[in-house]
């Protein structure tokens, strides 16, 4: 009897807790070692690498065109931007001029993919916070986008749509109307999500003032995309360093003020609206012409090194590419946004409870295969 009571006695000791690798709220396979005092997080170490597939090494054994399907697998929630960044890197290296129609198609597809990716974020984030229904709503709209993609390139997840010098296929005839309908319906749906979330008291309690990220810290850790824009740092590569004729589009870069979970949510919701604007502009202003520049069958870019970077839904994504003049790249380094964003987690979650950690991690919108490559 005495022994039992001795064991029950509450203590103030720190203890370690493994969260993951298989935990539903870690969005894949991430292991977090939490140092806890009671329910509060003292410190945290993310262990990555469970999904390492050595994509960078694979690139060294494939030709430039053959590597394109592999870029789909870097970030499976947003494959189009991964495709685009690779195509841009190789085109920059070889000095290929992309036809305007292909550039517009790339913008169109990338922005559709941005919406699809943010919808996943919204659904999964709500799921993490305990709301199940929004998950079904967001996936209903995402389904439409996937249908558009399937119509165009034949796949729903691994698109392999971009090619070096352009895109693989032109839009099917029924695409225009379906896409127009989508943007029209989708704006109403965003209002619906906002009605469900934005000023919902439960959602506010779970997200407001939690996980505040100062700009300086975010920049130090290499955070990018909506994560850093939620703090109010105005950095969007589509504006700062326009690629693929983004300079011709009229859109705003939504910014947060404080940098808490709610701000990051808000930035993404606004971005969905802005993406809709870009999609409409791209559909209306779609130039006629070729969809692919002439690229020789045996493609040998000149020796040299090049960096491409784009604004993927999760932030800055890019390739560092070294060529030795042969048909295969000499070295490929992939910079993904999720890796930088994950590093902030340690700073953000100190002092918060485990339940808040789930909210903070959800707000960073990390895709684990992108972290590990």
């Amino acid at each position: 009897m005495t022994d039992v009571t001795k064991n029950i006695q509450l203590s103030e000791e720190e203890f370690l807790l493994n969260m993951g690798p298989q935990h539903p709220s870690t969005h894949g396979v991430l292991r977090l070692v939490l140092k806890l005092r009671g329910e509060f997080i003292e410190d945290l170490t993310p262990h990555v690498g469970y999904l390492h597939r050595s994509i960078e090494k694979i690139a060294e054994n494939r030709t430039y065109a053959q590597f394109m399907p592999f870029t789909d697998r870097i970030d499976y929630c947003a494959s189009m931007p991964c495709n685009l960044a690779w195509a841009l890197a190789v085109e920059k290296l070889a000095g290929i001029e992309v036809p305007p129609r292909a550039q517009y198609l790339r913008v169109l597809m990338t922005e559709l993919n941005r919406i699809a990716s943010h919808l996943i974020y919204l659904g999964v984030m709500s799921l993490d916070l305990g709301a199940f229904t929004p998950f079904l709503y967001t996936f209903r709209e995402r389904e439409w986008i996937l249908d558009l993609f399937e119509m165009t390139c034949g796949q729903r997840l691994t698109y392999n749509y971009m090619r070096i010098g352009g895109v693989s296929r032109d839009l099917p005839p029924e695409f225009y109307q379906s896409c127009k309908n989508f943007t029209k319906v989708f704006l109403k749906k965003v209002d619906e999500y906002e009605a469900l979330f934005t000023y919902n008291p439960i959602f506010l309690t779970r997200t407001k003032d939690i996980g505040i990220l100062p700009i300086a810290v975010g920049l130090e850790y290499g955070a990018s995309g909506p994560t850093i824009r939620g703090s109010g740092h105005n950095w969007d590569l589509r504006k700062v360093e326009p690629y693929s004729s983004y300079e011709k589009f009229d859109f705003n870069v939504p910014l947060g003020t404080k940098g808490d979970v709610w701000d990051r949510y808000m930035v993404r919701v606004q971005e969905m609206r802005e993406s809709c604007k870009i999609i409409n502009q791209a559909l209306d202003g779609l130039p006629e012409g070729e969809i692919k520049a002439k690229v020789p069958g045996v493609f040998k870019p000149p020796a040299g090194e090049v960096i491409s970077r784009i604004e993927a839904p999760r932030g800055e994504m890019g390739y560092y590419l070294v060529s030795d003049g042969s048909t295969k790249p000499y070295r490929v380094k992939i910079r993904t946004a999720s890796y930088g964003n994950l590093q902030v987690l340690r700073y953000l979650s100190r002092g918060w409870k485990i339940a808040d950690l789930v909210a903070i991690f959800g707000s960073l919108d990390v895709v684990l295969p992108e972290v590990d490559r």
Binding site: R62, A65, T158
Partner: protein
């Protein structure tokens, strides 16, 4: 009295809820009874790889040029070339697609100049045996029998010409590619 009030308000609320049910009742169901019904796959859908045959002669369009084999990023295609001695035409002696590693990227279809290989909307190929996922030429041809295809831009320019060449000036068209063929066969 409070009991009856609650009773009626309960019934009222039940009917209110059933109103929503009634609204959606006449609408078509979103779900499909999967094995019996199927979604129509889009024309460009990238499912399993098949080999296409000429609808008139029933022979494979493939000329064993190995372009698809070279284009495949995961080396799922293995071809052995052979030469028909009488017509002096190349054809694939064996054509093997390993569906356990195929990533359905569609690069083989793009590389092909002869409308010989295509990714189709077929997708039901679950088996208990890994070996049976490695498809041989005969199986691929059988799958591609009824697949409709439109001739590619490239091949529209090339194929009629190639056809006329095969009937009139066969040796010329085959001549430049003779050496590698000889080595393989």
């Amino acid at each position: 009295m409070g009991y009856f009030k609650e009773f009626f308000s309960g019934i009222y609320n039940l009917l209110l809820g059933l109103k929503t049910t009634a609204k959606y009742l006449p609408e078509r169901a979103v779900t499909l009874q999967y094995p019996k019904e199927k979604w129509p796959m889009p024309e460009r859908s990238r499912g399993i790889v098949v080999l296409l045959s000429d609808p008139d002669t029933g022979e494979l369009n493939c000329t064993a040029c190995l372009l698809c084999q070279k284009a495949c990023p995961v080396a799922a295609i293995t071809i052995t070339q052979a030469k028909n001695e009488t017509t002096n035409k190349r054809y694939p002696k064996t054509f093997e697609v390993n569906n356990t590693i195929c990533c359905f990227c569609g690069l083989c279809e793009e590389a092909c100049n002869f409308d010989a290989i295509k990714l189709t909307g077929l997708y039901e190929f679950a088996t208990f045996d890994k070996e049976s996922l490695i498809f041989q030429k005969e199986k691929l041809q059988e799958l591609g029998r009824n697949v409709k295809y439109e001739k590619k831009r490239k091949s529209v320019a090339k194929k009629p010409a190639a056809k006329s060449e095969t009937t009139e000036t066969k040796p010329q068209s085959a001549a430049p590619s003779d050496p590698p063929k000889g080595e393989e066969a």
